[in-house]
Symmetry: C2
C-alpha cells in the first residue's frame, strides 16, 4: 500500500543521506545555527530571543518529524485499527517546553542505550542554548499560546492526544486551524474587553504546512438523482454551489519516553484554484476574487462560547468543512489497504468530542451510499459501528440544535439523509413500543414543537454511534436519567458508559511544577520518572507523611510556586506588588480559575469575600482570593460577574482597615500557560458549580495533582476525587445532585427568602460597591441556597490552614498520592478497551 515513487536504483542514495536526530549539544547547535542562518536568514548579529525561540523550535521539530515519519510509516506497514479523535477545539498551549520534556534521544551507535545516561534532553538544550548566548526560560517565554479552544472541552482533547501518543495508540486528532484563537481578555474599568487573538502573527514553527493535502469541500447547491434513483435512499448526486479547499496543517504530538509521535491534523480553508465556469462566466473579475477570498473566513475564528450553542450558519459551515475534510482523509487512508467496506469499523474508530462533529456521521453515510454505491442499510451498519459519542453537558442551552431550513440550505443532501435515518429509527422505536405515541415525538431527531423545526444533534449522535459516554460517574448516571432517558429505554443501558475525564501528568505536573516533580522523583527513588507513566507509584508518597524534612520540602515547593505566581501578578499589575511577599507562607492562596459562567458560580466566591470583609480582623489572617477566566463576549451575566469581582477587589485591596489580610486579584487573560503558573501555587481551589451542572471539571484534578486542596459541591468529578483521596481531604458542601432538579423548580416557582448572611453581603455590595446600579447583581443570587453551608466550610478551611498546618500538608501530600486515577492515560486505556477496541502499537 506504500506509494513507491523513487526508482529502486536511487534508494540506496536516499538511505545514505537519511537525516539523523541530533543527540548531542554540538549537533543541536549545528542545526540551531543552520536554521538561524538559512531558514530565518539572520545571523549572530541580529538573533534575538524570538529568533532563538524559532530556531530552537525548528531544530527540535526536526527531531520530532523524523520520529513522526517513522511512526507513520510503521502504522502504514502494520495497518492496525486506528482512532480518530474529532474535536472542534484543541487547547494546546505552548509546544516547545512540552517537546523538550517528551524528547527522546536515541543513540545511533547503540540504540539499546537508555537516554538517561545522557541526562535530560531539556537540560542538554538548556546548556547548549546557554553556550550560544541564550537563557532557555527567556526563549520559552517567546512562544504564544495555541489557544484553539474555550476551556475544559478543548484542553481535554489536548490531554488526550498527549496520552494517546504516550501509550502508542495509532491515533490522529482532527480539528481546525483557526487564524484567531480564543480572544485575549483585557480588563478595563473592571469590565472584560475582548481583543482578537491573531496568534500566528510571528509564524508557527510547530506546524507542517501540507500543501499536498488539499481536499475540496462543497456547500449549498441541490440534489439530483439521475440514474433512475427514485427515493432518497438511492445513490444521489449533490451538485454543490460554493467550493473551498481544506488544506492540512500537521502538528506533531510527541509521547513521553517513546519515539512514537502522533499527529494532530488541523484544517484551514483556502480558495479553490480550479476553474469553475458557473462562477466565472459572468465575467465579473472583482466579484470572483472577492468570492475566493471569502473562502478563508470559514476557519478564521474560533467561536468563543463555552457550554452554549450558538446557531450561526458560519458555525455549521465550520463543522461541515472540518467533518468532510477529516472524513475524506480517513477514507483515503483506509482505501489504500484495499479492504472491503465491511472491514471499515474493524480498522477505524471515530470519537466525537461533543456533538460538534456529528455531521461526520451523515457524511460517511453519504459517501457510502452516494459515491461508493452501498446499500443504505449496509452503509448504516458500517456507520454506527464506527462512531462513538462523548456527551459533555446536560444543560439545555448547551445542547446543539439546528433549524431545518438553515441546515437544508447549506447541506441539502445531508438533510435528506437525516430524515431517512430518523424514519428508520422511529419505525424501530414504534415497533418496540407500539403504544407509546408520546415517545416518538420525544425521541425523534427532529424536534417539531419549536416555532421552527429543529435537528437535535445529540439525538443524531446517539442514533449514529455504538457507544455514548459521559465524562464522570455522576454525569454519566445523570444523562441516563434525564436528557437521554428514552434512549436508555430503547437501546438498553449498555450503550451508555462512563469514562471519567483525566489530565496529562507530563504537562500538569512535570512541566507546570518541575520542583514538585523533582521532589517526588527523589522521594520515590524514581530518577527516570516512571511514575509519570504509572501514577499508582504515587501512592508510595503516603509512606512519608510523618517525615518532617519531606513535609518541609513539600511546603517549600509550594512557597516557591507562590513566589513565581506573585511575580506574574506583579508583572501584570504594571510592576507593582499587590500581595505582601513577607507572609506568603502564611497566606492562603484561594483560587477559582475557569470560564466565567453562572452555573460555575464565581459569584458565590465573591459573595464570600464580601462576607469576610467586615469580619476580617477577628476571623482569620491572610488570604489571597484569585480569580481568572474568560466570559463569552455576548454573555451578559458572566461579564457582570467579572465586573463584580473587580469591584470587590477594588474595595478590598484599598481598604486600610483590611490592611493586607485579604486581597482579591483577577488575573486577566487566563490561558494554558498562565494556568501552568497559577495552579501549582494554590493552597485551595474552588469547584462550586450548582450540583448537577458541571459534567466533570478537570481543573479540580490539576489542582489536586499539584498538591492543592479543593472546596467543592457534590458535582462532576469532585465526587470521584473525594472517593480517591478520601473525604477527610476534600471540603465538600451543599446539596446532592439528586435534588437539583427539584431545587431549581422550587426556586423558580417559589422564591424563598435569602439567608441573612447573603442578604447582608448583597446590601453591602449594593451600597458600597455599586451604588449607581444596586439591583444589577440580584439575578445572580437565585442559585445560592447553599451559601450558608459554603460559608461554614470556608471557615473550616481557614481554621485548618492557619491552625493545623501539619495536617493540611499531609492532606496536600495525600491528594497527590491518590491522584493517579485522574491521569488521562487511564482515560485512554478505558476508551481503548471499552469503546474503540484498539491496542497500542509498539
Amino acid at each position: 500500500s506504500i506509494d513507491t515513487v523513487i526508482p529502486l536504483k536511487s534508494r540506496a542514495l536516499w538511505n545514505k543521506h537519511q537525516v539523523r536526530k541530533f543527540d548531542k549539544p554540538e549537533d543541536f547547535q549545528d542545526r540551531f545555527i543552520d536554521h538561524v542562518e538559512t531558514t530565518l536568514a539572520r545571523s549572530l548579529y541580529n538573533c534575538d530571543d524570538m529568533a532563538a525561540y524559532e530556531a530552537a523550535s525548528m531544530s527540535v521539530r526536526d527531531n520530532l518529524v523524523i520520529d513522526w515519519n517513522k511512526t507513520q510509516q510503521k502504522f502504514t506497514t502494520r495497518d492496525p485499527k486506528r482512532v480518530y479523535y474529532l474535536s472542534l477545539e484543541f487547547l494546546m498551549g505552548r509546544a516547545l517546553d512540552n517537546a523538550l520534556i517528551n524528547m527522546k534521544i536515541d543513540d545511533p551507535e547503540d540504540p539499546s542505550a537508555s537516554q538517561d545516561s545522557k541526562g535530560e534532553p531539556r537540560e542538554m538544550i538548556k546548556g547548549a542554548l546557554d553556550d550560544l548566548g541564550f537563557k532557555l526560560e527567556d526563549v520559552l517565554d517567546q512562544e504564544p499560546d495555541a489557544g484553539l479552544g474555550n476551556g475544559g472541552l478543548g484542553r481535554l482533547a489536548a490531554c488526550f492526544v498527549d496520552s494517546m501518543a504516550t501509550e502508542g495508540i495509532p491515533a490522529w486528532g482532527y480539528g481546525l486551524r483557526y487564524e484567531y484563537g480564543i480572544f485575549a481578555q483585557k480588563i478595563i474599568d473592571g469590565y472584560q474587553v475582548e481583543t482578537p487573538d491573531y496568534w500566528l502573527n510571528s509564524g508557527n514553527p510547530w506546524e507542517i504546512e501540507r500543501n499536498e493535502v488539499q481536499i475540496p469541500v462543497t456547500f449549498y447547491g441541490y440534489v439530483d438523482r439521475p440514474e433512475g434513483g427514485k427515493t432518497t435512499l438511492s445513490a444521489s448526486q449533490w451538485i454543490g454551489g460554493e467550493r473551498v479547499l481544506a488544506v492540512a496543517y500537521d502538528f506533531p504530538v510527541p509521547g513521553f519516553k517513546t519515539s512514537n509521535v502522533n499527529n494532530l491534523r488541523l484544517w484551514q480553508a483556502r480558495p479553490t484554484t480550479e476553474f469553475d465556469f458557473a462562477k466565472f462566466n459572468n465575467g465579473d473579475y472583482k466579484n470572483s476574487v472577492a468570492q475566493q477570498q471569502s473562502a478563508e473566513s470559514i476557519t478564521a475564528v474560533l467561536y468563543p462560547n463555552d457550554n452554549f450553542a450558538q446557531g450561526k450558519e458560519l458555525r455549521l459551515k465550520q463543522q461541515y468543512f472540518w467533518c468532510a475534510a477529516s472524513l475524506h482523509d480517513i477514507l483515503r487512508r483506509f482505501k489504500k489497504s484495499k479492504r472491503s467496506w465491511t472491514e471499515f469499523p474493524e480498522q477505524v474508530a471515530i470519537q466525537l468530542n461533543d456533538t460538534h462533529p456529528t455531521l461526520a456521521i451523515l457524511e460517511l453515510q453519504r459517501v457510502l451510499v452516494d459515491l461508493e454505491k452501498l446499500d443504505w442499510h449496509e452503509a448504516w451498519d458500517i456507520v454506527t459501528k464506527t462512531f462513538a459519542y462523548t456527551n459533555h453537558t446536560v444543560m439545555q442551552e448547551a445542547l446543539e440544535k439546528w433549524p431545518v431550513g438553515l441546515f437544508g440550505h447549506l447541506l441539502p443532501r445531508h438533510l435528506e439523509i437525516i430524515y431517512d435515518i430518523n424514519w428508520f429509527f422511529l419505525q424501530d422505536v414504534a415497533k418496540k413500543f407500539p403504544k407509546d405515541v408520546d415517545l416518538l415525538s420525544r425521541i425523534s431527531i427532529i424536534e417539531e414543537n419549536s416555532p421552527e423545526r429543529q435537528i437535535r444533534m445529540a439525538f443524531l449522535a446517539i442514533v449514529g454511534s455504538h457507544k455514548v459516554n459521559g465524562v464522570a460517574e455522576l454525569h454519566s448516571e445523570l444523562i441516563k436519567t434525564t436528557i437521554f432517558k428514552d434512549f436508555v429505554k430503547f437501546y438498553g443501558a449498555s450503550k451508555f458508559v462512563n469514562v471519567t475525564n483525566g489530565i496529562t501528568p507530563r504537562r500538569w505536573l512535570k512541566q507546570a511544577n518541575p520542583n514538585l516533580a523533582r521532589l517526588i522523583s527523589k522521594t520515590l527513588n524514581d530518577p527516570t520518572e516512571d511514575y509519570l507513566l504509572d501514577m499508582t507509584k504515587l501512592t508510595q508518597l503516603a509512606k512519608h507523611l510523618e517525615d518532617k524534612k519531606f513535609l518541609k520540602e513539600w511546603n517549600q515547593v509550594k512557597l516557591n510556586n507562590k513566589i513565581r505566581l506573585v511575580d506574574l501578578i506583579k508583572k501584570e499589575n504594571g510592576g507593582e506588588d499587590i500581595i505582601n511577599r513577607e507572609y506568603l507562607d502564611d497566606t492562603l492562596f484561594d483560587m477559582q480559575v475557569k470560564r466565567i459562567h453562572e452555573y460555575k458560580r464565581q459569584q458565590l466566591n465573591v459573595f464570600e469575600n464580601g462576607a469576610s470583609i467586615e469580619e476580617v480582623a477577628k476571623k482569620y489572617p491572610r488570604k489571597v482570593s484569585i480569580f481568572g477566566g474568560k466570559s463569552a463576549p455576548g454573555y451578559y451575566m458572566a461579564k457582570l460577574i467579572i465586573k463584580l469581582v473587580n469591584s470587590v477587589a477594588e474595595i478590598v485591596n484599598n481598604d486600610e482597615s483590611i490592611d493586607d489580610l485579604l486581597k482579591v486579584v483577577f488575573i486577566a487573560d487566563y490561558n494554558v500557560s498562565k494556568a501552568e503558573i497559577i495552579i501549582p501555587a494554590s493552597d485551595l481551589s474552588e469547584h462550586i458549580s450548582t450540583a448537577g451542572t458541571e459534567a466533570s471539571g478537570t481543573s479540580n484534578m490539576k489542582f489536586v495533582m499539584n498538591g492543592g486542596l479543593i472546596i467543592g459541591t457534590v458535582d462532576g468529578a469532585n465526587v470521584e476525587i473525594t472517593r480517591e483521596i478520601g473525604e477527610d481531604n476534600v471540603f465538600l458542601f451543599g446539596n446532592l445532585s439528586e435534588n437539583v432538579e427539584d431545587l431549581r423548580y422550587n426556586l423558580q416557582y417559589h422564591p424563598q427568602d435569602l439567608p441573612s448572611s447573603l442578604e447582608s453581603v448583597l446590601s453591602y455590595i449594593e451600597w458600597s460597591i455599586l451604588p449607581e446600579n444596586p439591583n444589577e447583581f440580584k439575578p445572580l443570587v437565585d442559585i445560592s441556597d447553599d451559601f450558608e453551608s459554603y460559608l461554614a466550610t470556608q471557615e473550616l478551611v481557614d481554621q485548618e490552614f492557619h491552625n493545623q498546618r501539619p495536617e493540611w500538608l499531609k492532606k496536600s501530600v495525600l491528594s497527590v498520592a491518590n491522584v493517579g486515577f485522574f491521569s488521562s492515560d487511564r482515560c485512554i486505556e478505558e476508551y481503548s478497551d471499552t469503546i474503540w477496541n484498539v491496542e497500542p502499537v509498539t
Copy 2:
C-alpha cells in the same frame, strides 16, 4: 551600527558552526533529503515532483541566503550610497531555473578557484537530481509563475533587479506581495474569462517571511497641531483611524557570476495585534475581528490594468501602505548610521517606477517635518535630492489623478503637504514667468478644471524629484514637447533625461534559449559566457555571416525552438496539433504577444490575416500567426480584439481551401514562463503600436535577442533597435511619430474613407465571422490609416523569408550581434551614473 546581541564569549561557537554553501552534488543531495525529511516531513515513499521542486528550491535558496547574508553585512559595514527601486509590479516569473543559472559556487578550500573547473552549477544539480530519481525539467515545471505585474512595467523592474545584483549595485527593490497575482486567462467560446491567480496555493520556497519586520501603517483620521504650530508647515500630528501592519517578505535576487545577492522586499498587510481602545471599547467582538480580518485585503489583489489609471480608494490604499512601509524601512536603515539628515540624499537614491510610488515623496516630507522636526524647506531640499521619477506613458488615460476628496479622507496630512508643495512651487513659477497666468493653472499639481479637483500625480512626481526620465529616446523627447512641456520651460531641459529600457540577457537569452546561448558561446570561443556580462562581445558574431555551417546551426536552433513551442501549443490544445510539424522550417512564425490594447493594434495584425485569406494560395506558403496576451477585465475593446483573433482563427484553421498554409493561434494565459518558450521560436514579431503611443516596448528587444526579426512602426524603442541593428534588418512602416497628434486629431474630427483593402477585410469579417453583430469591430479601424503600408511590408517579409532565406538568416544573426545596447546592465549603468550617483560595491 551593527546590533550586537550575542555575547562575545559565544561568538567563537557561532563561527565554528557557521553554515557553508554546498558545492558538490553529494552535499546538495544531503540538503535536499534533509528538506524532504524534516521541512516537508515526507520521505522517499511520498516524494513527488512537487516535493522535489520544493526541496530543491529550499536547498538552492539556502545557498543564496548565505550569500544574501554576506552581501547585506558587507553593505552594512561599508555603508555605501544605496538605491531603492520602488515598483508596484515585479513580474518575476519562475525563480529556480534562474537561481541555478546565477548560482555561484565557491570552493571553501580554495576561494580563488574558478567555479568553471567544477562545471556549470545547473548541470551539477541536474545530475544530482537524476541520481535521486528526478528529471530537472519536470522539477522546474512545478513552479508557478510569480505574476506580480501586468506587463512591460513589471517585467522591467524584474530585469532591473537582476542587473543591479549582477553589477554589485547596493540596491533593494520594494513592492507588494499580492496574494492574487495577475489573473489567469481562459479562452471560452473565443472570449477571455479571468480566474483569480492564487499563486501561493502551494507555498513559496523563494520567500523569507520576516515576521520580525512589521511596520505599522495608518489611514484616515485627522490632523492636530498641538504644540502651538500655527500653519500646516509646522510639525503636525496625524491621528490615524485605521492601523494595519506591513510585514516584510524577502526574495533573494542573485547576480550572475558574483556572490552578490540583492534583496527584493515585498510587503504584506496583516492585522495589528496591539490593543486599540478606541476600536474595542464598544465591546463588539465580532465586529472587531471582522475589522482586523479586512486589513489583509489591502495586499490581496494586483490591479489588472496596464496603461490605465483606475481611481479606486483601495488602489490608493495599496500605494500608501507600500510607500509608507518602504520609506520607514529605508529611514530605519539610514538612522543606524547616525548621520545627519543633510547626508540623506548622499546615502539614499529612491527611484519611482511610474507615478504609483509618488506618495513616498509626501511621506518623506511628512516624516522629516512632523516627526524629525526639520524646517519645511530644509526637509524639501532633502526630499527632492533623493527622488527620481521614471515616466512610462504620454497617454492621458494612463496618467494618474486622484480626486482631492477621496485623497484627503484617506490621507489628510498628506493632502495638506501637497497644497504646501504646490503653493511654494507655483510661487516660484510665478516669479519666473510673472506674466503667464495660464501657465499657473496648466502646471499646478491640482487640476481645477474637472468636475472635482484632482491631484496630478505625475506633476507631483516631477516637482518632488531631481531627475525625470523617459524610457526610450523618442519617448523621452516626446514627453518634453507634450505633457511636460511647461516643466521643461520652468526647470530647463537638463532635469529631463532618457534611459532607454533594456532586458536581462541571463533570463532572455541563456535561460529562455539555452541552445542559442550554447551556439554563441561556442562561436565566440567564450566557454565561461562572459558575453552575458559584456554584450559588445556579440558583435563578433558578424564575422561568421558567411560561415554556412554556422548559419545552418543557427537555423537548427530556431527549428528546435519551434518544436518546443509547437509542443506547448499541442498541450494547450488538448493534445492535438494545430500546426503541421512536417514543414516547420518553411513556416514563418509570426508573433504578437503582449498586453491586448487598442494602441498596440493587435487588430491590425488580425485584419492582415483576414486580408490574406482570399489570397493565401497564390501569395505565399506557410505562416503561423501567433497571438498571446491579456486584456484588463473591464476593457471592452481589448476583449473584443481577443474575440476577433479567436473568431478569425476558427475560420482560418478550419477552412479546407487554406489547408495548413495559414494558421492563427491564440495562446491563452500569456506569462513570463510561456514567453520563455514563445519568443525563442519566432521568425518575425509585431510591434505595431500607433506611432507615439508605446513608450519603449521591451518584447521587441527580447525577440531581437533571440534572433527574431521585427516588423514595427516608428515608435518606442523600435527606433533605437533599427539604429543599432541597421535599417536593412528591420521592417519599419507607417507614419512618423511627429505627425501622430495631428493625425489623431484629424481622424477624430475628419473621418476619412478606409483604404479599400481594409474595407474588404472588414466586410469579410462582418459577413463570415460575425454575422450576428457585424458592426461590433468598427470602432477598431479608426487608427488604421497605415494599413496599406503595413500590408506591403508584410508582403516584403513573406518574400524575404521564403525566397531569400540565407539573407534572412544573416539578418537574424546581425540582430543578435547588435542587440548588446538593450541589455538592462547598460540601463543600470546609465541610471547609476546620471541619476543615482552610485557605484558598484565589490
